[in-house]
């Protein structure tokens, strides 16, 4: 890590003992570890290619509750409880909780975390939320402010459709560029010392808006943000795409993937070999009729927990750049004719 400390051109930092790298990144001198994670999904995700890897599949879309929102909260609670349980920890062993979801006023988090009694930072980064949570969690641990923290994010098809689009029973044709909101939640416990995967660096994304107004084509809205963060990461750390075994975006889908590869090629980076997208991994697009792929906070969070982390821990991938992507739209801004800004947060994971 010392090589990064010597880079003096960090933006807005005082230098010397700083862990800041380049314009928008951090290289941790003592990398925090992901001690463990857990994933909870719905039946459609359980039926997908990663189905056997998730810790829990809720066949009941309401998770035994009476509303979509309660169901999403319940999934957050289940994911965090499972993650804690795997490490034989109690909620009291965790100093901070960084959590978020897609709903207005992040109610899935408020009610999901209600009984945990862990000091909470509620986050909103649309579908990039788990990236934001992991970044802040890693900063808290890496900075010595907490021994252990938890990061959680969730989404639910029912609550997301209801809030952003139409009631579930309404009949309409979704465009082929539309994505399918993942019903799922992912939870991660971060801590000092040895874990099975280390967070060695982060690159915080800025809002990037290329003026796309089509909320049913979120891949196109988010691809420029993903390209910006990935390029920023490579520039800040002085790396090439080959330095990563995988570059994993959150939920760009098929349309967004194509655009991302093109935008990065224009910047001189070819990530065609490394790039995968959680939205393309979590569903079988041919069989499951999800159009462009999966989306939602739960898409990146559950896929990372169930699949990607193990690949790193088992040594199949040595270094991975995880870049969950978010489309920062609201029904109000959309109706008022605004475009859909994108954001993407990079987290460098190493075995």
């Amino acid at each position: 890590m010392s090589e990064f400390l010597e880079r003096s051109h960090t933006a807005g930092t005082s230098g010397a003992a700083s862990q800041a790298v380049g314009r928008q990144s951090i290289g941790f001198t003592r990398p925090p570890a992901i001690l463990g994670g857990a994933s909870v999904v719905g039946s459609k995700e359980g039926d997908g290619p990663l189905g056997h890897l998730f810790d829990r599949v809720n066949e009941d879309p309401l998770c035994g509750k009476s509303t979509w929102e309660q169901a999403e909260s319940e999934m957050q609670r289940q994911a965090l409880a499972l993650a804690l349980g795997k490490l034989s920890l109690e909620p009291g062993d965790v100093r901070y909780l960084f959590a978020g979801d897609l709903l207005g006023q992040i109610i899935a988090t408020s009610f999901g975390a209600r009984d945990m009694e862990i000091p909470l930072f509620g986050l909103y980064g649309a579908c990039s939320t788990i990236g934001e949570a992991l970044q802040l969690g890693a900063m808290a641990v890496g900075g010595g402010y907490a021994g252990r923290v938890a990061c959680v994010a969730s989404s639910h098809l029912g609550s997301a459709e209801k809030q952003f689009r139409f009631p579930m029973g309404y009949g309409n044709q979704r465009p082929l560029s539309a994505t399918w909101t993942v019903t799922g939640a992912g939870a991660f416990i971060l801590g000092e010392g040895e874990g099975y995967v280390r967070i060695t660096g982060i690159t915080t994304g800025k809002i990037v808006d290329y003026g796309v107004k089509d909320s049913m084509n979120m891949g196109a809205c988010m691809a420029p943000a993903a390209a910006d963060t990935i390029a920023g990461n490579l520039e800040d750390f002085g790396r090439e795409p080959e330095d990563y075994d995988r570059i994993i975006t959150g939920d760009l889908g098929a349309v967004g993937k194509e655009i991302l590869l093109k935008l990065l090629r224009e910047r001189g980076y070819d990530i065609g070999r490394q790039h995968t997208d959680c939205g393309l991994e979590i569903y079988d697009r041919k069989r499951q009729d999800v159009h462009s792929g999966g989306s939602g906070c739960g898409c990146a969070a559950a896929t990372l927990s169930a699949y990607s982390l193990d690949q790193i821990a088992e040594g199949h991938w040595r270094r991975v750049l995880f870049v969950p992507t978010g489309a920062l739209l609201s029904t109000v801004s959309f109706n008022e004719g605004e475009s859909v800004p994108g954001i993407a947060h990079g987290v460098v994971l190493e075995g």
Partner: protein
């Protein structure tokens, strides 16, 4: 398509422009009023040009996105809409013929047809079958009265959890509301035109 690079360069250009402006302010104080005004005009033009460039970038990216985004086949969609919409109308005709054969007047039979189709659609919505039909049939399920019924029943089911008043009451017409409002308004406006026409002729 070089939107990314160009946008970055534009931003840099913008920043440089700002710096230059700051430096110029001092000089400008010594300038004659006319020249100063002329320079402000130049600056405005530069800003206008930058905005125009930005708009072009946005347009360029949007056009590229449009080109790479797959679309439903219009002909296939029209055929499916024709089939499903046609079948719904055949169903309506069957109800109509049955009502007429039972001795109902034309108008009463029409009312019974509408009511039956609405019931048919609401039941399918409740069983979560209408969305599947609509996915296949598209506008063929949207245009007949069954589509209207679905757009009222679906919010009623979804928002029931938020209560009889603020849930169902406030939100039942979130989709159908515009149709009701502008449908009523359009019939009123056309009625007015007809009335004026009749007075004049």
């Amino acid at each position: 398509m070089t939107a990314g690079k160009d946008m970055r360069e534009d931003r840099k250009k913008g920043a440089e422009q700002g710096m230059r402006e700051d430096g110029q302010k001092g000089m400008e104080q010594g300038m004659g009023e006319d020249r100063k005004r002329g320079r402000e005009k130049d600056m405005q033009e530069v800003h206008r040009d930058m905005e125009k460039d930005m708009q072009e970038k946005v347009q360029e990216y949007n056009e590229y996105v449009k080109a790479v985004t797959p679309k439903h086949s219009l002909w296939k969609n029209m055929l499916q809409a024709f089939l499903v919409g046609g079948l719904i109308c055949v169903l309506g005709q069957a109800v109509m013929n049955f009502a007429l054969s039972r001795g109902l007047a034309q108008e009463e039979a029409g009312t019974w047809t509408s009511i039956s189709l609405v019931l048919f659609s609401v039941v399918l919505t409740g069983l979560n079958l209408y969305p599947k039909l609509a996915k296949f049939g598209g506008a063929g399920t949207l245009v007949p009265i069954t589509g209207f019924a679905n757009s009222v029943a679906a919010p009623a089911i979804e928002f029931q959890k938020e209560g009889q008043v603020f849930g169902i009451g406030c939100k039942i017409f979130t989709i159908a509301g515009p149709v009701i409002l502008y449908g009523t308004f359009a019939s009123w406006a056309l009625g007015l035109v007809l009335w004026v026409w009749q007075q004049v002729m």
